[in-house]
């Protein structure tokens, strides 16, 4: 298992290289540049800017320069946020995104799994319909609607919680963004857990277990939940991607200083270094998380062995 993990991590290097190359050249193909704005720059000033950021060099040379800097852990300066390096921005923003995203995933699991199990056990009852109906509403409303709605209701009308802002990560400031970010994932996880639980409960070994006269509780806890978790674990990868995507919206609406926004803003502003920085960083993060998900999967399903 350990050597498998190590091998996977080694394989991450070519993966990341491809990611970097693809992102680098796609970004440069995109029309518009980091210095194109409302006010056309006099050619001399534009030339100064291009030279200052080495954008006047041939593209392959820029690419090699970027790789070289990256090897030394230097993500370069941001084109837009001049007083920070991209490394500064990621260091400052990532813990924030991680906190929001991690809490959202935890909340989604903490609520989604039990809801899914309950709905499966009470299949086709009022409870099932209520849980699944609510879950569906969670899926059916885009989070860019949910977020301002939550801010409006709890921040403006009821005044229970701040309508936005980070405030150093104070608890009241965390509640609404985490909730808004997790609602969709709660719904997805509950749906997947329900479907998979129903599937498992209908399988022959559960019937066998029941036939043996084991109590329903024991059947559910000891035999059904563990295999039923597999599709949920499979879903965790996409869930994390969903959280990352969602955080773009949530961070923008609640004014949270995470890196999700840099990602979109960088792309729209053609802030090449910032985009590359977030892509490389997210790429590495996703490789790591996928590995964890796979290991978790094999831990839950003893039928799968990873050959070294």
């Amino acid at each position: 298992m350990l050597s498998y993990a190590f091998k996977r991590l080694l394989q991450a290097i070519p993966t990341l290289l491809i990611v970097i190359t693809l992102a680098f050249f796609l970004m440069r193909v995109a029309p518009g540049g980091p210095f194109d704005g409302e006010r056309a720059l006099p050619p001399d000033i534009e030339a100064n800017l291009m030279a200052a950021y080495h954008l006047d060099e041939p593209l392959p040379q820029q690419y090699l320069r970027y790789l070289g800097d990256l090897l030394q852990g230097d993500f370069g300066p941001s084109f837009k946020y001049k007083d920070f390096s991209v490394t500064d921005l990621i260091q400052q923003g990532f813990p924030v995104s991680l906190e929001i995203g991690g809490l959202a995933i935890l909340l989604a699991l903490a609520l989604g799994l039990p809801l899914g199990v309950i709905a499966a056990l009470k299949r086709n009852s009022a409870v099932d319909y209520a849980v699944m109906g609510t879950a569906l509403a969670g899926i059916a409303i885009p989070n860019f609607v949910v977020a301002p709605l939550l801010a409006l209701v709890f921040g403006v009308i009821l005044s229970w919680l701040p309508a936005g802002g980070w405030n150093g990560g104070a608890l009241p400031n965390l509640v609404l963004p985490v909730l808004a970010l997790s609602i969709q994932q709660i719904a997805y996880i509950a749906r997947i857990m329900r479907a998979s639980m129903i599937e498992v409960l209908g399988s022959h070994y559960i019937r066998t277990a029941r036939a043996k006269g084991l109590s329903e509780r024991l059947v559910v806890w000891r035999h059904a939940i563990r295999p039923a978790l597999l599709p949920v674990v499979s879903y965790l990868g996409p869930a994390i991607a969903g959280i990352i995507t969602g955080s773009v919206v949530i961070e923008q609406i609640f004014g949270i200083p995470g890196i999700g926004r840099y990602f979109v803003q960088g792309a729209l502003n053609r802030d090449y270094t910032l985009v590359m920085g977030t892509v490389v960083f997210y790429g590495a993060l996703i490789v790591l998380l996928n590995l964890i998900v796979d290991l978790l999967y094999s831990a839950l399903d003893p039928q799968i062995r990873y050959d070294d």
């Binding site: 210095f35 704005g37 056309a40 001399d44 100064n48 403006v156 309508a163 980070w166 840099y262």
Partner: protein, 526 residues
């Protein structure tokens, strides 16, 4: 925001005597973007950036709450008769936040820094009126060739201009003309701007910056007028989502929200009448015609027809809910030393439409050969609504409009390359002078997106640039604009208005035409 101030000392005091009620009075301002840098040469040009920079730095002159010019770092100045030499006498007690005096050297240094080609400043051209500035900025001449000199041991600054520039004093309030702390730049190099090292000469000085979240500034104890500053600090919150900013203001988390969204105006006006500000602003919202050969808009008849069919009042009142003013001219109403011009759009709407139809027919367009136009705008809700309305206004003329929206970087790059028939553009004055707008139609200027070229127009502007007499200059500029409007050089559509939400408990915050609101004047009413 007022928060109870809990200081160990005051608690001690409270136990011995009756301490006066103490509140930490921090001004919480929501700004719609992130500051690019505290180095004024690196700023990207957002309106929000000047708000922060004018609070922490101060130029030779500064602005009053209602936007008048007041002495700043300079207490007095003289202008030579030919208008080419300005002599500024610096304040004796001007100091950086570390106690070092602000000298003329700091201005010389700061301006050279801005123009140094290596610093690649986007707004360096705003200092081009200074003698030699352009040559320095392009690297043709060394920084020493710049027409600024420190005299009398740094107590006097002498500035030489290339040509008389009536709006030069106005320009000095812009952040490009601020001084930089020479002593810390020499000590720390590029790191001078880091919060550990930064010193500023304005009423406030930055103490904390969480990117994408907020910037905190505290009063600068060395500021010459520090006693008059009653705020305990200002926090600028970066809020890109304007509706979110409105929610946060309504939730009481902000004292000021700049540039609230226009779609919220009517709701806010009814709900928070005392807090909802809207005021004249020096900005023009217009559509550019592409005058290049091969575009249908190169034909003056087409341009006139489209201008005739544009219903500005519908745009301002029905589409934008009253958050813009209908515009019949390019230079906005309210510019100093200028009488607003107006397009000649006679007759009621029916007459205008039939005239427009005739013009298009004369230009060779009709049911068999409809006029097809590519309209480009940059992606925002406001621009979209306006573009949709414009397309609908032109449709009765048989005009087919293809709408193309793109993010700002692509939009401006594309229209600078000339790939459009009609394009959305807007201009907010850098300084209160008509020339700032009219130069956008001068042949060869980078922001003349539509490549309008009229030698008579250029000649009028060039003559105005050399004319020292303000009235004569005004006449020349007005004639130039009248000429451009006669040519239907563009479609003037709307004047911007400034939109702010302001806590009614604030005093010293006044609406003004440039929408500049230095926090040093602001305090909470008792």
């Amino acid at each position: 925001m007022r928060k109870p101030r809990l200081i160990a000392g005051s608690l001690l005091l409270a136990s011995t005597c009756l301490a006066p009620a103490a509140f930490a009075e921090t001004l919480d301002i929501g700004v719609t973007g992130e500051l690019a840098s505290f180095d004024t040469s690196q700023v990207s040009g957002g309106v929000w950036e000047s708000q922060i920079l004018m609070d922490v730095y101060e130029g030779l002159v500064k602005k009053s709450p209602d936007g008048r010019l007041l002495p700043g770092m300079a207490t007095s100045w003289e202008v030579s008769d030919d208008g080419l030499t300005y002599t500024f006498h610096l304040r004796e007690d001007a100091a950086w936040s570390d106690g070092e005096p602000v000298t003329a050297e700091d201005f010389v240094f700061g301006w050279r820094h801005l123009l140094d080609p290596a610093n690649a400043s986007k707004y360096a051209y705003l200092l081009y009126p200074v003698a030699g500035a352009e040559a320095v900025n392009t690297g043709e001449k060394p920084p020493e060739a710049l027409g600024v000199a420190s005299l009398d041991d740094g107590r006097t600054l002498r500035v030489t201009l290339d040509a008389p520039t009536p709006y030069f004093l106005q320009q000095l309030t812009h952040y490009t003309a601020y001084p930089l702390p020479k002593h810390t730049l020499e000590r720390y190099g590029d790191d001078w701007v880091k919060l550990d090292h930064i010193v500023t000469n304005g009423a406030f000085t930055p103490v904390e910056w969480v990117s994408q979240s907020h910037i905190d500034v505290r009063p600068n104890p060395e500021y010459y007028d520090a006693d008059a500053v009653t705020l305990d600090g200002v926090t600028y919150h970066t809020i890109e989502d304007r509706n979110a900013g409105v929610s946060r203001f309504r939730a009481g988390e902000l004292d000021v929200m700049r540039e609230y969204s226009s779609s919220m105006y009517e709701l806010l006006r009814d709900e928070l009448p005392g807090a909802t500000h809207m005021s004249t602003y020096l900005g023009s919202y217009y559509y550019v015609f592409n005058h290049r050969d091969g575009h249908p808009t190169a034909d003056p008849r087409v341009r006139e027809a489209l201008n005739l069919a544009t219903r500005r009042r519908v745009l301002s009142e029905q589409i934008m809910g009253g958050t813009f003013q209908p515009a019949l001219s390019f230079v906005p109403d309210g510019i100093a030393h200028y009488d607003a011009q107006a397009m000649n759009l006679e007759g009621d709407m029916d007459a205008r439409m039939s005239r427009a139809r005739e013009l298009l027919e004369a230009a060779g367009y009709g049911p068999d050969h409809p006029l097809h136009l590519r309209l480009r705008y940059n992606t925002t809700d406001e621009h979209k609504k306006i573009a949709v309305a414009m397309a609908a206004m032109w449709r009765p003329l048989g005009v087919e409009v293809e709408m193309i929206n793109a993010e700002a970087t692509v939009h401006y790059q594309t229209i600078q390359e000339g790939d459009f028939d009609i394009a959305r553009a807007g201009w907010i004055a850098d300084y209160n002078d008509a020339e700032n707008f009219l130069t956008l139609l001068h042949t060869g200027v980078g922001n003349n997106y539509g490549a309008y070229a009229n030698p008579d127009y250029d000649a009028l502007l060039d003559r105005a640039a050399e004319t020292l007499d303000l009235d004569a200059r005004q006449q020349l500029l007005q004639r130039a604009e009248a000429l451009a409007l006669e040519d239907d050089a563009l479609i003037p559509m709307l004047y911007y208005v400034s939109r702010n939400l302001v806590n009614p408990a604030l005093e010293g915050w006044e609406d003004n035409i440039e929408d500049d609101h230095p926090s040093r004047w602001v305090h909470f009413a008792d």
